[in-house]
Symmetry: C2
Subunit: 362 residues, 2 copies
């Protein structure tokens, strides 16, 4: 097997601090078999108990299940056996690995939503344990990224297998700036100029723990503070549809105007989900420069060097300071602004990044 | 996909009476993906909750785990998360599907035994639910059977997808004979002549319930009653080794002499496991004539038409009548006698099968 697969498995095991006696659940698909084998080797080495389970977020099996359940008008429930498994587990590795990224294309999206909703207590339970999420490079993901399979493999492993001590130190500069700052302004070309308060909300240094690859610094805006407009340069890929040139205008934290040059209705339906879906839940700074191209995969895209992203919807609990409001929503949709040219990030009026170069790099 | 795979899945779902709200665990390997997809479709149709889990009895992942655990001197334990899963499940489909039937060849067999031993409470728990075990035809299994992949697929599906009402009726004749009889004598050529009491022990009509394919009628001998000698015509395949021409001589139910023309040591180690391993735990009559060749796979071989098999070791509880002794052992090793030529089965002195033809077929 490609030796980088074993290195990838080590990164995953370290991310969850896999240790003797740990009851580990590996969620995967058949196409990621090599990575599962490599994880099992490490589990044996460390004396952990691995169990490999199929994912329920994609793939042929769940497609077949959901279409048949739709036809039979099944009411989904939280499966007690899967819940019992997750409750008794100590740690989790979730591997995204697609044979066909559009496998759920002919599943009714409401049926899939209802199914995922029924499974959400299981996901919530998993989030209370040690967990990490990663991507195994497959031909289908390479195709989505418009790359050859080998080039995509190189891209994935370059983003994951790097000097993370160095990367952590690099990102820590940005954490310090955000933690000390109160107001952030993002300017890009003539189309994006938005300000928001982050006062009291901690910034997180994301370096290969819950997401592999890591490579972002993120926090939550104070919900009502967001004002201005943003044109998102990178497409928003949602349920197999691309929203191009998404544009949001904020007043008092709320989206009061929106548009897109393609699939605007998808954007509208996201914003109309609930009141929290019209407000920001995240501001993130992408700092993993080995991610140097957009691949239609948010696990990578949001960490791309020289980008920022904002998410409408739910804010992560650990990015909300005591006494501050945590934005609530069923949505959390990240959208990306390119900051490499004619752009700047200001914190409390000082430029901290200009045209993709941070002030601490000079 | 091959339409027979969906038919196979229906047989499996029917075997466990898969119903609305059932929490189903499907144990499988990546190579059986089509069959898993087909089972998930039926689960959706019936409103059951399917979860697919990797097997721990073979394959690359468990090999990697066991070798690493051996190196690290791990003490195996019963994994509580897997146990919680099985306790909360209602029914189970176990699919054997090998990419390489000798995948565990370089795993220390004692290490594997210790691991399986630690998992035995999970297996025991599973046996208290509705369960079934089957085989997905793979190129590796075809190779073991010395057949082309397509011919092997035909063989497997012919054995599984047949008129089971007719087969059940055919086998029921033999059940009636055994249930009414007390003493069975098996004679084949000059080399096999053995008698045993089955008085009070019920015969089971095995037709696609716990084993898919089914196709045998079996009961337990009264342990002390077995006397005579048996030459097993078909090889005993054990941990990758073939015992050829295994021969057992019984006195008062116990093996007092044994031999083989190849790998006699393997046979000796089986018999030496514990006192119960020197006594018979099963007498079975193979009656599935679509299984017309030996394929080194006991799930099929023991149901082969015109054969009988005897197992040294543990007797199944449901084949032991009230007040009769149930033979206990950590072993249960089936061995096969060809009954197609110069052979007969007698019950209470009456010939019930001669040269493979049953008395109720005339």
């Amino acid at each position: 097997m490609d030796p980088r697969i074993r290195e990838h498995a080590q990164v995953l095991a370290d991310a969850i601090d896999l240790s003797e006696g740990d009851n580990l659940v590996v969620k995967s698909e058949p196409v990621a078999d090599d990575l599962v084998v490599a994880i099992f080797e490490i589990a044996g080495d460390r004396g952990a108990n691995p169990l490999a389970v199929r994912t329920n977020r994609g793939g042929r099996a769940i497609r077949g299940y959901l279409r048949a359940a739709d036809e039979a008008d099944v009411e989904f429930e939280t499966p007690p056996h899967e819940q019992a498994l997750v409750e008794a587990a100590d740690c989790h590795i979730a591997i995204r690995a697609d044979e066909n990224v559009t496998e759920l294309d002919d599943v009714d999206s409401e049926v899939n939503s209802a199914y995922q909703q029924a499974h959400s207590p299981i996901l919530d339970e998993r989030l209370t344990d040690r967990w990490t999420l990663t991507q195994h490079p497959t031909p289908a993901s390479a195709q989505l990224a418009e790359m050859s399979t080998e080039a995509y493999e190189n891209f994935v492993y370059d983003a994951i297998l790097k000097d993370w001590d160095e990367q952590r130190a690099f990102q820590e500069h940005m954490v310090d700036i955000l933690d000390e700052g109160e107001e952030v302004r993002i300017v890009s070309g003539e189309t994006t100029d938005v300000t928001m308060s982050i006062a009291g909300n901690p910034a997180i240094n994301d370096t290969n723990v819950h997401n592999i690859p890591g490579g972002e610094v993120f926090t939550a805006p104070v919900p009502d503070s967001v004002a201005g407009e943003v044109l998102f340069d990178k497409p928003v890929y949602r349920n197999g549809k691309e929203v191009i040139d998404a544009r949001l205008v904020f007043e008092d934290g709320e989206v009061v105007e929106h548009g897109a040059s393609k699939n605007e209705a998808v954007l509208t339906s996201i914003l109309d989900t609930d009141p929290g879906a019209r407000r920001l839940g995240e501001l993130g700074i992408g700092m993993n420069r080995d991610i140097d191209q957009f691949t239609y995969n948010m696990l990578f895209d949001e960490k791309m060097g020289d980008t920022v992203h904002m998410a409408v919807g739910r804010a992560y609990e650990d990015t909300v300071g005591e006494g501050n409001e945590q934005n609530q929503s069923a949505q959390h949709v990240d959208m990306i602004v390119d900051m490499s040219e004619d752009s700047r990030i200001e914190v409390d009026g000082e430029v901290v990044q200009e045209d993709g170069v941070f002030v601490f790099e000079e």
